[in-house]
């Protein structure tokens, strides 16, 4: 479809072996002792791990132990399931997008409606899970970082629900572009602390949250919002989001009596994508497509496509692909969507990509904005700008697929929070044009 031309990416991506030889990963050592046993906790292939200052190690160990115990605790699981059902609004529907399917003329398109959850995005799944863990650990103070503000709102919500003190760190650039969510968090009783350092976005908010945690670790839980950071976060946060794919798989089998040809989701840190991918990993014929922020161009600093120019490295506790310069300094990123504006990616995605099990493509700011309008006018759904990246890829891909194929896109959040940015960028106030017929 001419309206959404596929961008071809010409950057040569080095093989992992080349890269590891280059970056001298500590574990690439040839000594048998440093070889990584498969399935080592916290490792996804060579990625993941726990790279934090010593002060945090005991807290991470405690969190891991508590999480392992909670996983086996029927009462904990039952309480979580109940909250997900009666408070968050699970299960979310899998919606057949009839008009979109007709318009694109290819695969049958389904949308997983995480945007219908309480607080407006998938983030609540993880916040409820970790919130119940905080209760078990007997801590009363919760801190979090937020980019788009969705995780911050979900954290503030769960803290109100469970009666915790809540502090959310947010880059001032993100506070500006996600003003509505800042107010929502404050309304919910959370303290929002603006972060002025670096690019004043998600990465800088995580730095500041980690500084708070390293200071108040004895009394405070860091409710990390994505599949990032030191072990056990990438595994634990994934587990709390697995419900997305679990539902979607059963729903599509019921609706179509077959598995989808592809599942598409946006990838910032990668929590909604790993959540919907995970149940499909074993279904080898289902293509798993992650969509990164292509931003405004291919130069370092203009995008947040970690697999298009990122190299393995360590940032904020985990070993994964990182956008960085030749001296190992972390690069600035750009995306119209605050939730995807981050220089690293969850370590499990790095492993899935290296193993060839998932593929990752960029969608640009312009494509995401266009996809937002297109979906709004075709199906009456305004997706979050993050999720709009997944929609953009679906708009490119569905027309190339067979009519008998089925594709699922994860609408991880709703676009209400983005109204300010959409107004700035779409200029609809004066000139209402119809993008679709």
């Amino acid at each position: 479809m001419a309206m959404f031309p596929r961008t071809t990416v010409k950057v040569k991506i080095p093989t992992l072996r080349e890269e590891r030889a280059r970056v001298g990963h500590p574990r690439s050592n040839s000594s048998p002792r440093s070889k990584i046993p498969a399935g080592e906790p916290g490792r996804f292939g060579v990625y993941g791990g726990r790279y934090v200052p010593e002060t945090l190690m005991a807290a991470l160990e405690e969190l891991e132990r508590e999480y392992e115990k909670a996983k086996r605790d029927r009462k904990f699981q039952k309480r979580l399931e109940e909250l997900l059902r009666t408070y968050a609004g699970r299960p979310t529907p899998l919606f057949f997008a009839r008009r979109l399917t007709q318009k694109l003329g290819g695969a049958r398109i389904y949308l997983k409606r995480e945007d219908l959850l309480h607080t407006g995005a998938h983030k609540i799944n993880n916040c409820l899970g970790q919130g119940l863990l905080v209760e078990r650990m007997g801590k009363r103070r919760v801190i979090a970082e937020t980019g788009a503000g969705q995780h911050g709102v979900a954290t503030a919500t769960v803290c109100a629900l469970l009666g915790f003190e809540c502090v959310v760190y947010m880059g001032t650039e993100d506070m500006r572009r996600q003003e509505l969510n800042v107010f929502r968090m404050r309304l919910l009783g959370a303290e929002v602390r603006g972060v002025e350092s670096g690019s004043r976005t998600l990465k800088d908010a995580i730095n500041e949250a980690m500084r708070d945690w390293v200071t108040n670790v004895r009394t405070t839980h860091y409710l990390l919002g994505s599949v990032l950071g030191a072990h056990p976060y990438p595994t634990m946060v994934r587990d709390f989001h697995r419900v997305i794919g679990h539902e979607a798989r059963a729903q599509i089998l019921k609706a179509e009596n077959k598995l989808p040809a592809a599942v598409i989701a946006c990838v910032g840190g990668g929590s909604n994508s790993i959540g919907i991918f995970y149940e499909f990993i074993k279904d080898k014929k289902v293509r798993l497509v992650g969509v990164e922020a292509g931003g405004r161009g291919e130069a370092l600093g203009d995008h947040a496509a970690r697999f298009r120019g990122g190299l393995p490295g360590v940032l904020q506790g985990t070993f994964s692909y990182v956008l960085q310069d030749a001296a190992g300094q972390i690069a600035n990123t750009h995306s119209v969507s605050a939730g995807l504006d981050y220089p690293s990616i969850g370590p499990e995605h790095a492993a899935l990509r290296d193993a060839g099990r998932a593929e990752y493509v960029p969608a640009s700011d312009a494509e995401a904005l266009e996809a937002t309008t297109f979906l709004a006018r075709t199906e009456g759904i305004i997706p979050a700008l993050e999720s709009a990246h997944a929609v953009a890829e679906m708009l490119k891909r569905a027309p190339t697929m067979k009519k008998s194929d089925v594709v699922i896109a994860n609408i991880s959040g709703r676009g209400d929070k983005d109204i300010g940015i959409l107004r700035e960028n779409l200029k609809l106030d004066r000139n209402i044009e119809r993008l679709s017929h």
Binding site: R22, V23, N29, V52, E54, T55, T215, L315, Q329
Partner: protein, 260 residues
């Protein structure tokens, strides 16, 4: 029990470890500052490598890192600076203080070779705990470099043992939880931690984080083998534009005069 095999020693009681963020305000000035600190009595210099995302650092060192990075300071330049300092000061310990990613980017093996060649004695990688350090420790030891690890008040005894076993040169005990930066009062945490560490190692123990005044220096010096002063030095540099080295000399002299 591990013995120091490296030429890292504290001549003074207590020893003084001085941290500087290299490249702040520029590398030539850092060199002057380091030589001035040595002249004034520092036993060990920690050459801080500026990093874009210093999660363990408070505002003072964050600002210094930003200034140094604006000038384009790299790990390779810090190692070159180390070589220059080594030519002037043979008996002072030189430790590279860095976050992991710049080292990974250079390559662990190359880092060790270049560091050793520059006359560096060891390194402290702040976001590399013992669990993840097998390859690093092996490479460091193969090149006769001392891996220095952090011990925290929150580390259980089990961890302290592993930290002590992996460390060479000295063990860096954190005076408290939190990021780098001066504090009015020092917690009781430090003394307790040093006592717990003594049970598992004979290595010298340096205590750092938050120590900024002669009084604190003397207090900590009573139970630690050495005292690390970082943010207070970096702040002195920040506030004395144009006479950084002289100001650091005064600061260091003043610091140790109190205890004697």
């Amino acid at each position: 029990m591990t013995q120091s095999v490296m030429p890292l020693s504290f001549y003074n009681k207590p020893g003084l470890v001085v941290y500087v963020t290299c490249g702040d305000p520029d590398l030539a000035t850092t060199r002057e500052i380091v030589l001035a600190a040595i002249e004034a009595g520092a036993d060990v210099i920690e050459l801080g490598v500026p990093f874009s995302d210093p999660v363990a650092d408070g505002p003072v060192i964050q600002r210094a890192s930003e200034r140094a990075l604006k000038r384009g300071t790299t790990l390779a330049q810090v190692l070159a600076l180390a070589a220059e300092v080594r030519e002037q000061a043979q008996s002072t310990g030189l430790i590279v203080f860095s976050y992991l990613n710049p080292i990974l980017r250079m390559g662990m093996e190359k880092f060790c070779i270049v560091a050793r060649h520059a006359g560096v004695d060891g390194a402290l990688v702040i976001d590399l705990p013992v669990e993840e350090s097998a390859g690093y420790v092996q490479a460091m030891r193969a090149h006769d470099l001392a891996p220095v690890f952090l011990a925290a008040p929150t580390s259980p005894d089990e961890r302290l043992k592993r930290i002590a076993q992996a460390s060479r040169g000295f063990v860096y005990a954190l005076s408290r939880t939190g990021v780098t930066g001066a504090r009015q009062q020092l917690a009781q945490d430090a003394k307790k931690l040093v006592r717990r560490l003594r049970r598992v190692t004979r290595l010298p123990i340096a205590v750092g984080f938050g120590i900024s005044t002669p009084k604190q220096f003397a207090e900590v010096g009573e139970f630690a083998d050495a005292v690390v002063v970082g943010s207070a030095i970096v702040e002195t540099i920040e506030h004395n534009q144009g006479r950084e080295a002289a100001a650091v000399t005064e600061f260091v002299r003043n610091l140790s005069a109190f205890g004697c």
